[in-house]
Amino acid sequence: MQEILQYLFSGITNGAIYAVIALGFSMLYSSTDLINFAHGEFVMLGALCMVSLSLGMGFSLLPAFFFTVLIVAAAGMIFERLAIRSVRHPEPIVLIIITVGASIFLRGLGMLVWGKDAYSMPQFWDLPPIDIAGARLLPQSIWILLIVTALTVGLQIFYRKTLTGKAMIACAVNKKAAWIVGIPFKWMVLLAFGLATGLGAVAGASIAPITMSSYDMGTMLGLKGFCAAMLGGLGSLWGAILGGFLLGILEAMGVGFVSSGLKDATAFLLLLLVLYVRPQGIIGAADVKRF
């Protein structure tokens, strides 16, 4: 019992992170029809920026977090401006390959700036782990869950209540119509990139205290986030959340009860399963494809 609870806690913590990463994939996809395979690298940038700002430059927690998200979102927008917008024939496959290239570039850049060492940093709250029925819950996990909740609510409000959010969905639903009602399409794509990579930065900065951050951490996180997004249904807000938590929990259970070698395989087994059984994802029925 105690074991199950412990696996569950660690699964939920990882799941929350996968959920935030999946949100980044999903929201970019739902506003631009694009899958950014460099997304994991923005998570890496988030984690390493957070470490540098808080440990290296001595920023306190909140400003460090804030500037990390800002810097990475700006990097995402520069990426869009330089590598995506300038493509003359923006076909999906071309753009996707560009993002794959960008991920390799960013990984190299990360290695140049931060070197090959792995960094760790203290938790946001310096509190001892909480003991629940014999299982230990890290305070950082609570932080992460709070952040995920806030992000979900925030995004929901953004898409449902603000005109900019609606305009962003509009661009994805019907590009021609969005154009003709006067939505500045280029600006929307830029904004979507900024938001999505900002989400990546939030994920990165949140896990910096509970993992070792290094230049090559992004690839696996990105792929898992992508699996989670596919699992829940690409383009769906709740799908991303559901997919993320499901993946995190199944992964933890797989590690706990079957074999620790199964950790990274879980995501891809699930991805294969989803692609065979229900390619639109759990929530991603044709109707609720978008936010």
Binding site: K166, I169, K176, A177, V181
Partner: protein
């Protein structure tokens, strides 16, 4: 209004696609608050002209002036902002959104709060949002769809989707409204209702340019008609003159034997 200058001036517009001359030296202007029919056989260049006016692609030659100013350099969304709105022949809605949301998105160019602002100034944004909703409901009432505001737009019958698109175009508060075959796919009573709506829109001071194959509708509501054939303007004038114009009859029916 003090000046009587035309709202839209089309000056010597030419546009070729490869070897096909879609528009050749087209020239006419639209008076303020008038209804103007743009007719011609298939392939005459009507839709191309619409696309040039809205800025979807630039003309090869010629100039377009809107409210006295050249709009050549403006992008599509900037033209919407200056007051040009349009509808499409095949109805382009945001299918997965509700009818009301479609109209709200149509107001995009008329609301000021950006994203940062909407986070920082929640009260202000909420007020603006409320006003936008009220205005959207008014527009839906205007086209008679107020009871369907929360339905998904793609669930409405085709004729009503047309009306949603019309209301969405009006949401941008245009001075010039381009309608691309608004009556296509509508039955007779719906077409009549549409004609009344167009007259009503015009009486609010909005200039209308209408591409339409339903001649009885076009002839009955238009103040002025421009006829295109193979990219060239072949006639221009009030409906009665156009109906009697030999060149027009020829373009539509072919040359008589005598």
């Amino acid at each position: 209004m003090t000046d009587n200058k035309p709202l839209l001036e089309i000056q010597g517009i030419g546009k070729a696609f490869g070897g096909v001359q879609a528009l050749e030296d087209v020239e006419f202007h639209l008076e303020k608050a008038s209804i103007n029919g743009l007719i011609g056989p298939n392939g005459a260049g009507k839709t191309t002209l619409f696309n040039v006016i809205t800025g979807i692609f630039p003309p090869d030659s010629g100039q377009i002036r809107f409210a006295g100013k050249s709009i050549q350099a403006l992008e599509v969304h900037e033209r919407v902002r200056t007051g040009i709105a349009r509808t499409f022949q095949n109805v382009e809605l945001f299918e997965s959104m509700s009818v009301l949301e479609n109209i709200l998105v149509g107001m995009y160019t008329r609301t000021r709060s950006g994203m940062i602002e909407s986070i920082l100034r929640l009260a202000h944004t909420r007020r603006e949002e409320k006003q936008a909703r009220d205005r959207a409901m008014e527009l839906l009432e205007f086209v008679g769809l107020q009871d369907y505001a929360h339905q998904k737009s793609s669930d409405l019958p085709f004729g009503w989707q047309r009306l949603v698109e019309l209301a969405r175009a009006l949401a941008a508060e245009p001075r010039l409204l381009l309608l691309d075959e608004p009556a296509a796919g509508l039955n007779i009573s719906e077409t009549n209702q549409l004609g009344d709506l167009i007259l009503e829109i015009c009486s609010r001071g909005i200039t209308i340019l209408l591409v339409e194959h339903d001649m009885s509708l076009t002839m009955s509501i238009s103040d002025q008609i421009v006829v295109l054939d193979q990219g060239k303007k072949i006639a221009e004038g009030p409906p009665r003159d156009i109906q009697a114009n030999e060149a027009v009859v020829e373009a539509y029916l072919g040359k008589g034997k005598n």
